[in-house]
């Protein structure tokens, strides 16, 4: 067994993120974790579905949601999913600089998404008086969308820490799995968002 995790470009593994046993474990572990996350979000969605009409005299879904901002947020997050695919593409080609660049773009798009979400929440609170405590609908909305936002924050901290840590070291078989698991996690955040914009926003705007 080799103690050395550096990549030999002449003998480049097909997927550097799965070339070591630790890499394989991380890959599998993250997927299994996502299985659990699916149920976590399922329960949050369920709670939202049960409470979405319990506005307790406050603003209802139709009064609250606006099309433009949600569309912008969706495009930002979907694009960030593609940019992370580009990053992994460059990882497989052993091009560390481009990988970092595309991961950086991914993070920027994520930050943009987060900024929109913060603006959206502030807007609801100040314009509509719609808060976490104002009705069961409010509690359910902020919990579901907030849990997703929390996942975005965690993902951003994760990728920024990874990029800073490895900026001088380049790609090797030890850190490649870390980038790859991040990318999977980030796609999953996007999956959850697809259901949020469909079930929460779009279905909430349909009468």
């Amino acid at each position: 067994m080799s103690h050395d995790h550096s990549i030999d470009p002449k003998n480049m593994p097909k997927d550097p993120s799965k070339a070591t046993t630790e890499g394989k474990y991380k890959f599998m572990g993250l997927w299994i974790f996502l299985g659990g996350e699916t149920v976590l979000f399922a329960c949050l969605f369920g709670t939202y579905l049960a409470l979405k009409d319990s506005a307790a005299g406050g603003p209802t879904t139709q009064e609250l949601y606006g099309m433009g901002l949600v569309f912008l947020m969706t495009i930002l997050l979907l694009t960030s999913s593609l940019t992370s695919v580009y990053a992994i593409y460059h990882m497989k080609n052993n091009d560390f600089k481009k990988m970092q660049l595309w991961m950086g773009i991914t993070a920027l798009l994520g930050i943009g998404f987060l900024a929109c979400e913060i603006y959206e929440f502030a807007h609801y609170i100040h314009e509509f008086g719609f808060t976490f405590r104002s009705s069961a609908f409010g509690s359910a909305f902020y919990t579901l969308v907030g849990f997703h936002g929390g996942h975005v924050v965690f993902g951003l901290s994760w990728i920024i820490a990874l990029m800073v840590r490895n900026s001088k070291r380049g790609l090797n078989l030890y850190n490649a799995p870390k980038y790859n698991t991040f990318a999977l996690y980030w796609h999953f955040i996007d999956v959850v968002w697809v259901f949020i914009f469909t079930v929460v926003y779009l279905m909430g705007m349909v009468s």
Binding site: I32, L34, F45, G46, M67, K92, R169, T198, L202
Partner: protein, 106 residues
């Protein structure tokens, strides 16, 4: 460390394959954006809710399928266990969604 090499040195066959795969990814991305636009358009055009809700859900599922099978490579070899686990999660999600829409009695 010897790993700061240029991409030119890696196997050109493999590079070609990576490129082909990336092209597929871009196509699926374009489709995802397209589905998103369709979904928003359905709501803007005020299609009656009996049709629009199932349509929106179908579009979401297809889009998520692209995300899972292409972006996350769930269709590839070596993803048997992950896909079973995700199917399990989807099954539970289905049960939970049904519960909270149909039998959360009050």
């Amino acid at each position: 460390m010897p790993d700061k090499m240029s991409t030119r040195k890696i196997n050109s066959y493999q590079k070609q394959k990576n490129k082909q795969e990336m092209q597929k990814m871009v196509v699926s991305f374009a489709l995802m954006i397209f589905f998103t636009i369709v979904a928003f358009a359905l709501v803007i055009l005020e299609v009656p809710s009996t049709y629009v809700i199932p349509l929106l859900l179908i579009l979401a599922f297809v889009q998520v399928g692209f995300q899972f099978f292409y972006f996350m490579h769930l269709k590839d070899k070596g993803h048997e266990v992950p896909s079973q686990i995700i199917y399990g999660g989807v099954f539970v999600t289905f049960l939970v969604a049904l519960t909270f829409t149909a039998i959360t009695w009050w």
